[in-house]
């Protein structure tokens, strides 16, 4: 029987052949959620009845011979940071608990039009701020591979849902690694597109100049498929690029000739977990065996990336999250004295600690007298980081690196040390600062069975190259075919 553990390509074939139906597939996903999600915590909202109804409707249309969209009945899980009309959208925050948007995010409209079955909303760090999904107001998400470890974050729920076969495809968002890092922690493929490749309309903003929506899938082909659906030019997002969207899947089988892979030696220093180091080196060897040239590159300003990010992102966040003031939507405190106190108490009560910490940091950084020293300085350093990558990409096609310094970390290990948590983002945030597309793909496991990802970066709008390079690696390895013990048990 077809289950969401199969690849999306296989499932689409089976749907087309009539070996399965969207209804059966959707039911299977719902069953797996019912069986495992109490332990994993991937979903905040499971939209069972509407999902089954949508699946049945797509099956009827297929039977009637009507043309169907690219996703043609595949269940897709959506991170709870994207507005879904008629379905709750909470950003894993008490602030938005119970909020039902009166509109769909642009990518949600795209999914519906592509005949995806929207199965539910996935867990995340509150307002996408975090790297473990432990900052969710509704409990953490665990990686299906090790239930005592975090799924990563902030898109931990989407990554875990795909890893556990609760949905063959999922959508996440990535501001500083929030797709790539959980993909690594959960052993799936996750892609952060170029800034502007996918519309942010309806993506609840964390840091507007860094946020980007992207796909999760068990394999590279699924990520390519979902990106074809997500990417387009949306006039409602002024930062969305008017660039043609290639048929990403068509290029996948074609290996890149004379591929030049860039390696930054600074990435392989103390602090990098030994298993991760070995897995990444092994992955680079795969490319070497395939005939790629491996080049050392310099990223002289990379050491400023974390500091730069933790000024830019909280500054923008402090502004983006000012709107949650208990007036037009969201939580209002029950106990206040006057308007200003109503604001302060509503926000103080409904936001979690990490969100408050970043609002404080950003408010401080933008406040009178400090703008030049903090935000402006960071935006200048950001330019230098961008220029480093422009320079590097004159001599290499993709840059390979670890995704995170470690495999999935035990729950609770970093929550009390925010700075250490931030430093763990060191490999992923540069792509956001420079606007580059980045991808994480399964590249091995630690000795104790936790997945490890390889990150590939490419120049702006070269998602096709990124996917082709990832597919080259995937064809040579079997990592993506492994399944977490939990998921295999039930199938």
């Amino acid at each position: 029987m077809a289950t969401a553990l199969e690849s999306s390509a296989t499932l689409l074939d089976q749907l087309t052949d009539g070996q399965t139906t969207s209804l059966r597939l959707t039911q299977d996903c719902l069953d797996r959620i019912a069986a495992h999600d109490t332990a994993i915590g991937a979903f905040l909202h499971v939209d069972s009845e509407p999902a089954l109804a949508a699946a049945a409707a797509i099956d009827r249309r297929r039977e009637a011979g009507e043309p169907l969209g690219l996703l043609a009945g595949l269940p897709v899980a959506v991170k709870d940071v994207l507005a879904t009309r008629g379905q709750p959208t909470t950003c894993a925050s008490r602030m938005l608990q119970g909020w039902v948007p009166p509109y769909d995010a642009h990518v949600v409209e795209r999914l519906r039009r592509a005949d995806a079955v929207l199965i539910g909303k996935t867990n995340m760090d509150e307002f996408a701020m975090g790297s473990t999904t432990e900052n969710s107001a509704f409990g953490p998400t665990r990686t299906p591979w090790r239930l005592d470890c975090a799924a990563g974050g902030s898109s931990g729920g989407s990554a875990a849902a795909v890893a556990a076969g609760m949905a063959p495809l999922a959508v996440g968002s990535d501001t500083g690694g929030s797709i790539r890092q959980p993909a690594s922690f959960c052993g799936v493929v996750g892609l952060k597109p170029t800034y502007g490749r996918v519309s942010r309309y309806g993506l609840v903003a964390f840091a507007s100049s860094l946020d980007q929506v992207g796909p999760f899938s068990g394999d590279v082909r699924g990520a390519a498929l979902l990106l074809e659906v997500l990417a387009d030019h949306d006039p409602r997002d002024a930062t969305c690029a008017d660039e043609p969207v290639p048929a990403y899947r068509d290029q996948l089988e074609r290996p890149l000739d004379a591929l030049r892979v860039g390696i930054c030696r600074d990435h392989f220093t103390e602090g990098l977990d030994k298993d991760v180091d070995e897995a990444v080196e092994a992955a680079i060897d795969v490319y070497r065996r395939l005939g790629a040239e491996i080049h050392d590159i310099q990223l002289p300003h990379a050491r400023f990336a974390v500091a730069c990010y933790y000024l830019v992102a909280p500054s923008e966040a402090s502004s983006n999250l000012a709107r949650y003031d208990g007036v037009h939507y969201g939580a209002r405190s029950d106990d206040y004295d006057g308007l200003v106190d109503m604001y302060c108490r509503s926000r103080g009560e409904a936001f979690g600690a990490e969100v408050k910490r970043r609002i404080m940091l950003g408010t401080y950084a933008l406040s009178a007298g400090y703008y030049d020293a903090f935000y402006l300085k960071a935006q200048k350093v950001r330019r230098l980081i961008q220029q480093d990558y422009q320079q590097a990409f004159t001599s290499v096609d993709v840059i390979a690196s670890p995704v995170a310094p470690t495999p999935a970390i035990p729950l609770g290990s970093l929550v009390s040390d925010p700075l250490q948590m931030y430093l763990a983002d060191t490999y992923t945030i540069s792509a956001n600062l420079a606007g580059l597309p980045g991808l994480s793909l399964p590249a091995g496991f630690s000795d104790d069975g936790r997945p490890i990802g390889l990150q590939l970066l490419a120049p702006p709008f070269q998602e096709s190259r990124l996917l082709q390079a990832a597919a080259m690696h995937e064809r040579e390895t079997q990592w993506h075919l492994r399944r977490p013990p939990l998921a295999e048990d039930s199938s």
């Binding site: 994207l82 507005a83 959208t89 950003c91 938005l96 909020w99 948007p101 009166p102 509109y103 995010a105 942010r200 309309y201 309806g202 993506l203 609840v204 903003a205 840091a207 507007s208 100049s209 006039p235 409602r236 997002d237 002024a238 930062t239 500054s315 923008e316 402090s318 502004s319 000012a322 709107r323 949650y324 003031d325 007036v327 037009h328 939507y329 308007l339 200003v340 604001y343 408010t363 933008l366 406040s367 009178a368 703008y371 935000y375």
Partner: protein
């Protein structure tokens, strides 16, 4: 204690807010329409500030803004951008206003304001502008008026209306001049078609910064702390609030002798009912707006070609037109101002009449007196006026040609006004002929036709005739009056001449 004596200088700068006449709001497709009767129906995720929604700049709003900037002689920036001005207020759903901080689309500029109300020797003052920028308007808070502590209500229909902010240098020197500046600004914006500047509906609003330079007992010039008076929404309000504030600051100066405990800028409101300003925000809560570039919007390059195209497309501006009426059409400054200040439609009407009747001075008299009086009485705009420019020009042409006396022309004018607009359609010339003939208004030009009438009147008024002959010039008035009553179309000058001739013979 006595108030300090002059010299005192009043220093006023105005921040004028003008809502732009776009079809839709500045960052979303909701209608830009004054609609207080139906609260919260012109909103969408963008102007509600819903999580996830994003702004996209309205090209037309920028275009209207550039037109205004050009008309104010400002320098249009090659690159402009949008910034977030952050503060909490219930009418501001995102808790920041998208505005422009350090790269406004328009820098500098000026506007001339006439100093005196009449006379041909009018002096003008040049009021310099600091900048003009574009921003989004907030929604509207409706406060509980009962003072019973009920909730305030928020209507977001207005949120996101494109708003121009025109910031002057502190060049204004009196309350009356500030009012004239605002009136001239309104006229200009309406002329340009940039705004309807309807003050009742809030599409023209104003904040005023004012302080005084006064001399203390030791002869030292001291400036009083600057006061910003917020939300002035009538011309009278601006003038009255500033007058009040001048008096208040003088009084305060007199009381403290120019030694202020707190010299920070103060914000005050204007209570139009009581006619006083009142303190609003203290400095302990001073604003820190944390401006930074809005990452949801991208910078805008304003192409030089676009600027030129808009500059070329500008209509003649009121000040230039006023001057032209004086220079070319030889109107008095006063008449020119009365005509121009009524707005573009009336000025167009006047110019059409003047050109077609060939006598600008006569046209000006009729337009500023008869036409404006009728418009006032009827509460009409010139566009709805029953006599179009052709009609009035036709009447005036007949006065000029001697076919109608001024008095008869007024009768024709009134008759035309009373015509049933739904009635039979004939050309205005034909209709004027008809009225003249129906009412016997034709000028009796040849003295032959007047002679029998004159003889009869002299016969009936022997005393008056004798008095005139006896040297009592005024006596002729009675005779002229009687002749005129009988000969409706007669020209009083001709009647007078014919009578004198007859009586002297």
């Amino acid at each position: 204690m006595t108030a300090p004596c002059s010299p005192a200088t009043t220093i006023i700068g105005l921040e004028v807010h003008v809502q732009l006449l776009t079809e839709t709001k500045i960052f979303c497709g909701c209608l830009n329409r004054f609609n207080p009767e139906e609260p919260n129906v012109q909103t969408c995720p963008v102007c509600l500030g819903l999580p996830g929604a994003l702004p996209v700049m309205n090209r037309r709003a920028l275009e209207l803004a550039i037109r205004a900037g050009l008309a104010l002689s400002g320098t249009i920036a090659g690159t402009t951008k949008w910034d977030r001005k952050q503060y909490y207020y219930p009418d501001l759903p995102k808790a920041y206003q998208i505005s422009q901080f350090d790269l406004p689309f328009c820098d500098g500029g000026w506007m001339d304001v006439d100093d005196a109300d009449d006379g041909d020797e009018t002096q003008a003052s040049r009021i310099r502008l600091i900048r003009v920028h574009l921003e989004e308007d907030a929604g509207k808070n409706l406060h509980d008026e009962t003072q019973r502590g009920r909730d305030s209500r928020i209507d977001l229909n207005r949120a996101g209306t494109p708003l121009l902010e025109i910031v002057s240098e502190p060049d204004l020197r009196s309350a009356a001049q500030s009012r004239r500046y605002l009136e001239e600004m309104r006229l200009l914006m309406v002329y340009l078609g940039v705004s309807d500047c309807n003050m009742q509906e809030g599409s023209l609003r104003c904040d005023a910064n004012i302080n005084l330079e006064l001399v203390n007992d030791d002869g030292v010039a001291i400036r009083t702390p600057i006061v910003e008076i917020k939300n002035l929404n009538s011309f009278r309000g601006v003038e009255a609030a500033l007058e009040y504030e001048i008096g208040r600051q003088r009084q305060e100066f007199a009381e403290c002798g120019g030694v202020y405990a707190d010299s920070e800028k103060q914000t005050r409101g204007w209570d139009a009912d009581r006619g006083v300003t009142f303190a609003q925000r203290g400095k302990e809560d001073a604003a820190d707006y944390r401006y930074f570039p809005d990452p949801d919007l991208v910078p805008v390059q304003i192409a030089a070609e676009w600027i030129e195209e808009l500059r070329t497309g500008l209509c003649e501006l009121p000040a230039a037109r006023r001057q032209r009426l004086v220079d070319d059409l030889k109107l008095s400054r006063y008449d020119a101002s009365v005509i121009i200040d009524q707005g573009r439609d009336l000025a167009d009407y006047f110019e059409a009449v003047a050109q077609r009747c060939g006598d600008p001075k006569r046209a000006a008299n009729w337009v500023t007196q008869d036409v404006l009086r009728e418009l006032n009485d009827r509460g009409q705009a010139i566009g709805d006026f029953a006599i179009d420019a052709d009609g009035l020009a036709a009447i005036l042409a007949r006065i000029a040609s001697g076919d109608l006396t001024t008095r008869s022309a007024r009768e024709v004018f009134t008759a035309l006004l009373d015509d049933d607009p739904e009635g039979e359609q004939v050309t205005v010339e034909a209709r004027i002929d008809e009225i003249i003939s129906d009412r016997g208004l034709a000028t009796i030009a040849d003295s032959g036709a007047l002679e029998p009438l004159i003889d009869a009147v002299i016969e009936r008024n022997p005393q008056a005739a004798a008095d005139f002959r006896g040297g009592k010039q005024a006596a002729i008035g009675k005779l002229i009056g009687e002749v005129m009553r009988e000969a409706k179309g007669a020209d009083p000058q001709s009647v007078r001449a014919a009578l004198i001739e007859r009586l002297s013979s």
